[in-house]
Amino acid sequence: MALLEINDLNVSFSSYSQRTQVLRDVSLKIEQGQRVALIGETGSGKSVTSKTILNTLPGNANVESGQVSWRGEDLLSKSDGERERLKGIEMSVVMQDPLSSFNPVFTIGRHLEDVLYWADRRAGKRRSRADRVTHIHDVLRKVQLGDPERVMASYPAQLSGGMRQRVLIALALMNRPAMLIADEPGTALDVTTQDEILRLINDLVTEVGLSLLMITHNLGVVRMTADYVYVMRKGVIVEHGPLEQIFDNPRTDYTRELINAIPPLYGASVKDQPVSSEAPLVKLEGVSKTFTRRHLLGASDHTHAVRDVSIDIPRGEIFGLAGESGSGKTTVARMVMGMMGATSGKITVDGMDLSAQKDGRIDRKLAQIVYQNPGTSLNPKRTVAQTLDVPLRFAGLDATDRAKRTDELLELVNMPRHFAARYPHELSGGQKQRIAIARALAADPKLIVLDEPTSALDVSVQKRVIALLEELRSDLGLTFLFISHDLSLMRNFCSHIAIMLRGELVEQGTPAQVFADPKHPYTRALIAAVPVISTEEEAAKPIVTQAEKQKFLVSSAA
């Protein structure tokens, strides 16, 4: 008998007399000790599936038909109370965002102890406080948190993202559940931390004999953590099979597209971008940025966000700036845009010294930016036409020229003309990002700073947006400063790459050089942590020892 079996599940959401079917005849099976992955893009219904299993669907959801059986018993016919008792004991969940899962005013120890206390109460067990603490220490050690005493005394904000995610896993494992549901457990973390967390989950599955339901959009993660894969699209399971079959011999076009959309890290299909040999458009010489926070009493705090960075970006280059969160890559971009002055050093854009400019503001014809989150970079109250109108109007164009140019811009980013009348909420994520690119192009700049322009998008959408950017670069002769943490994307899209660690530039060169022979140990650790989708790529990665890796993990608490 399978541990969990879902048969022909249909779920719909209703809001204001509108009914939307989100799951259609979903069937899924998890055997004892099996690692199953559910993959799909945004809106495919993978989280709704896990919520149906856990009975945490929102109020406007409606399970229309189908069964969810746990060890042969139908869960949907049970009462909420009975299903509540299964949680934490039979099945547990690890969510995407480790910070919002904690209450910031309680210590980690308090969170863990409360959960254990109430689980004991429900199970009718009595345990002394000392016993509970010993048990928690054991579990924390199991998730590789070496100093349980200190972790328990910390507040959530004092732990790093990776540590918080470990604590969440510990929380989920507290009562030895039979199944762990992991909903995008590494997505909010840096790539090196994500790698550690996935390895940990894998180890636990083998050691404790857990069954795993891994929900993710990342195929590399799937390859690391699953034996059996279900591919979901728009509420339908389009394909399922053992891992090798899905990856090597996909039966549907959709799965094939999904796999092909992943930029390869190594191998024959890797793309090398032409390197520019022109004069530099942007020049940074020994640039540093220190943030100072003044206190009313006592000494000021200094944070060295960027230290002594020197780079040249030739015209026509796609210059990639890679690094994990807090590495200072966004600060560099903001300084290049003139939105922020450098503490020391010199920044020149197109022969113009930025520090000599009034307010340090850069000419809008020189540089424009495309932001990471298309949801917040477009004004929700303005239509596409109104958004595109702003740069044109302030460039002094008259109404007829503006209308003509708006059409041209939409055409440049491959959007139909009638989209001009739409509001942002009527657009998909990829479409919003196209509009953001069009807005940046409207001012006719020489340099476009791309601040993680695809990290909020699905891979298939990312592929199309990247193709558009490549096309614009060759058609309009643009120069890009591309900021990202996605190394496999940078390998294929950038013509030059620089790696930052804690505010310093540790390595730079063409992607081909850097990836074939990474010099700095951090670069090696970073590349080694990228989840890839084939064994050949895995083998081509640099080999990094555990000790080397540990050096660059943000491991300590405050």
Binding site: Y16, S17, Q18, T20, Q21, R24, R233, K234, G235, V236, V238, E239, D248, N249, P250, R251, T252, D253, Y254, R256, M337, M339, R364, Q368, I369, Y371, N373, T376, S377, L378, N379, P380, K381, R382, Q386, T387, V390, P391, F394, A395, Y423, H425, E426, A436, R439, A442, A443
Partner: protein, 296 residues
């Protein structure tokens, strides 16, 4: 890779509703909001068509009918008559005019002033923010009733002066609210993008930030209408509002109070009038708040 393609059923695309349609659906699904809207509309209609609706339109003026002095509610005078024999129902219907005039006068000044100051404080930050929020906080410390009494006694106790007194303090609430919203909107990427595109401060304030504050302003204004009616009634109850014989709900309650408890109708109907108008605006405001999904 074998190319045995399997066709995937294509589900229907989700229906995307326009923001306006979505808001209307949300409003319609809220019975409380609909009741509030109905109440407000009846108050507005009463005020607009008072001379045609009121059973004794001339009783809004200087009429004396001693035969009906303190007449109890009857088929002739549904809500009874006051101390000089005027029909109370007619005077309540006319009384809505004064109440609404006060609402328009006070909020017509306070909302634009408060919103403009809040926008500037939230967007410009720095010294502007410090000065505006500081001044707002100082003004908030003045009790409105004391202010109204002071203005009423220094100038003269008239409707216009009551309006001035209330408006002088009322803008502070709008300034604070809009400041809070504008500050968070100003930190959004689209504001920075507009600035990088060369937009002027005026454009950013009026075209980028203000449209994102409209929901919050309209909810607050609707809820405020109720408070202004209540506050105006309080002032005229204390004799600081409208001069007789103009019918006003607050002063009618004050007049009727002298003849309690025997002639209870002199107080009941004007009090119910205040209650009805206040409740209507409150319910409508709550409904709008749910519809726009904002915090006020």
């Amino acid at each position: 890779m074998s190319a045995t393609s399997v066709s995937i059923p294509e589900p229907d695309a989700p229906v995307i509703l326009s923001a306006r349609r979505m808001a209307w659906l949300r409003f319609r699904a809220n019975p409380v909001a609909l009741i509030g809207a109905f109440m407000v509309i009846t108050v507005l209609l009463c005020a607009a068509f008072a001379p045609w609706i009121a059973p004794y339109p001339d009783h809004a003026g200087n009429v004396i009918d001693f035969a009906n002095r303190h007449a109890a509610p009857s088929s002739e005078h549904w809500a009874g008559a006051d101390k000089v024999g005027r029909d109370i129902l007619s005077r309540v219907i006319f009384g809505f005019r004064v109440s609404l005039l006060l609402v328009v006068g006070v909020l017509g000044v306070a909302v634009p002033v408060g919103a403009a100051l809040g926008l500037c404080a939230g967007y410009f930050g720095g010294r502007t923010e410090f000065l505006i929020t500081g001044f707002t906080n100082v003004m908030l410390a003045i009790p409105p009733l004391i202010m109204a009494l002071a203005v009423g006694s220094v100038l003269s106790p008239t409707l216009i002066n009551a309006m001035i007194a209330i408006a002088m303090l009322w803008w502070t609430w709008h300034a604070r609210l809009v400041y809070r919203v504008a500050k968070s909107v100003a930190a959004e990427d689209f504001v920075e993008a507009a600035r990088l595109a060369g937009a002027t401060h005026w454009h950013i304030l009026t075209k980028e930030i203000l449209p994102n504050c409209i929901a919050v302003i309209s909810v607050k204004t609707t809820l405020d209408a109720a408070f202004v009616i209540l506050f105006g009634a309080t002032l005229s109850f204390l004799g600081l509002g409208v001069r007789p014989p103009t019918p006003d709900l607050g002063s009618m309650v004050a007049d009727g109070r002298q003849f309690l408890p025997e002639m209870w109708w002199g107080v009941l109907t004007p009090a119910l009038g205040i209650f009805y108008a206040t409740l209507g605006f409150n319910l409508l405001g709550d409904g709008l708040r749910d519809m726009f999904d904002v915090e006020v």
